[in-house]
Every structure is written in structure tokens, then in C-alpha cells.
Symmetry: C2
Subunit: 135 residues, 2 copies
């Protein structure tokens, strides 16, 4: 390593920040952040799951998850419901309004994926995603 910019930790952190900024810019007109967007998209794919399960899928720990859920719950997009099978757990659900927003977010995200990756070929994208998923 001749220069810190060759450090993989720097490369990945930098790319992660750029991605997050890009998505946030696309969804900010809905008053949402990139993390809130991803949480809602995962819930749109499947909701009525516990906070722990949602955290595993979205890669957010319980402390971060609590804060994110607080905020999107206050916006009326999700609801925490008691879990009758396990009284420790909650069931996170999308509200009707949350589902409406989720559809818009899905649309925006699909388009943003394409524009954000405009410079890359299909093969490069597939290869990149494959590599990233091995970390």
C-alpha cells in the first residue's frame, strides 16, 4: 500500500457514502432518507416481521432500527403491533399510506439504480454486486 487511497476500507467507505448521498437526493422530496427508504422497501417486499428480523435483512442493529422505526412510525408509514406468539417481540407493518409511499420509492429506486450505474456495463454491475456480496 503506497497511499491511503488504495486502502480497501477507504474505497468501500467512500463508495458507500456516495451511494447513500445519491439515493437520499432522489428521495428527499418525499421527506425520507436513504436508510428509511431501504427499510420501507424491505417491508414492502415483506412486512409483519419482527424488528430483529428486519434488522438482519437491512443490516441495521437494534439501536439504529429503533430510531429509524420511531421516525417513519411518526410519519404514519409503519406501525409497531404486539406479537401474540412472542410477547418480547413486535410485528412491524406498513400502513396503507406507507404502502403508497413504498410504491413510489420502488419506482424511484429502480430508476436511481440505473442512472447511478449508467457508466457501468451489465457485466461490470453483475461482477461488482457478486464481489460486494462476498464481504
Amino acid at each position: 500500500m503506497k497511499h491511503p487511497s488504495e486502502c480497501i476500507f477507504f474505497n468501500l467507505a467512500k463508495a458507500g457514502k456516495k451511494a447513500s448521498r445519491y439515493l437520499k437526493n432522489e428521495v428527499s422530496r418525499l421527506g425520507l432518507t436513504s436508510v428509511q427508504t431501504l427499510v420501507i422497501l424491505f417491508l414492502f417486499y415483506q412486512d409483519q416481521i419482527t424488528s430483529a428480523e428486519l434488522g438482519k435483512r437491512t443490516e441495521l442493529d437494534s439501536a439504529t432500527m429503533a430510531g429509524v422505526l420511531d421516525r417513519i412510525e411518526n410519519m404514519g408509514l409503519v406501525a409497531r403491533r404486539p406479537n401474540h406468539d412472542d410477547h418480547r417481540a413486535i410485528s412491524v407493518c406498513l400502513t396503507d399510506e406507507g404502502r403508497t409511499i413504498a410504491e413510489k420509492l420502488w419506482d424511484i429506486s429502480e430508476k436511481a439504480n440505473i442512472t447511478f450505474l449508467k457508466k457501468f456495463s451489465k457485466e461490470e454491475i453483475a461482477f461488482l454486486k457478486g464481489l460486494l456480496n462476498r464481504f
Copy 2:
């Protein structure tokens, strides 16, 4: 996009977080975070630069930079000196202690790069870094 986990923003954010966590774990015995480590490594490569220049190189904005510098300055690792050419600017310097720590961090980082990338071939690493730097 069939599933939110295929979203490039999710892939990059996830990899960035894993990288940051991994480096932090390696340097935490020195009482430092991954971001503080990267800032010190950039200063080790070249110091006596302005906060703005350091921010450009490390990809940190001025608000984040101010906080990071506050903390590593309080640890005695860097010093903010007045810039005689430009009275608005400061000159960020590594202290002697900072330089000693930086040498250790460089060593730790080189080893961590290797172990973090153990699963990947040289070609894959080169290709990945090339792709990441195009964002």
C-alpha cells in the same frame, strides 16, 4: 429489481459498513475509530495541509472534519496551526506522538487489508477497486 437486496445503494452501504466495522475492530486497541485512522493515514502521507484539502482527500465535509480533528487533537495526535499565507485557513500537522501512532496504524491497516480481502484473488481486488473508484 426483484428484491431490495439487489439495490446497488443497499449493496454499497452494506459493504461500507462491514469494512468500517472491520477496521475499527483492528484499531480500537489504540483508542481510535476507522475514520480517525484514515484521517491520520492521509496526514502521514502528507501533512501541513488545510482542513479543506484534507476533507477533499478523505471525503469528509467540513462539519465532520471539525469533529474528527477536535478528537484526535485532544488525544495529542494532530495540531491545528495558523496558516500565514491565508488567515482563514489552518494547517493540520501530525505531532511526534501522532507520527508514532501513524506508523502503527499503517502497519495494522496493511495487514487488515490483506485479511479482509483474503477470499479474493489479486485480479478480483484490482477489478473491484477499479470499479469502486469510478463512482
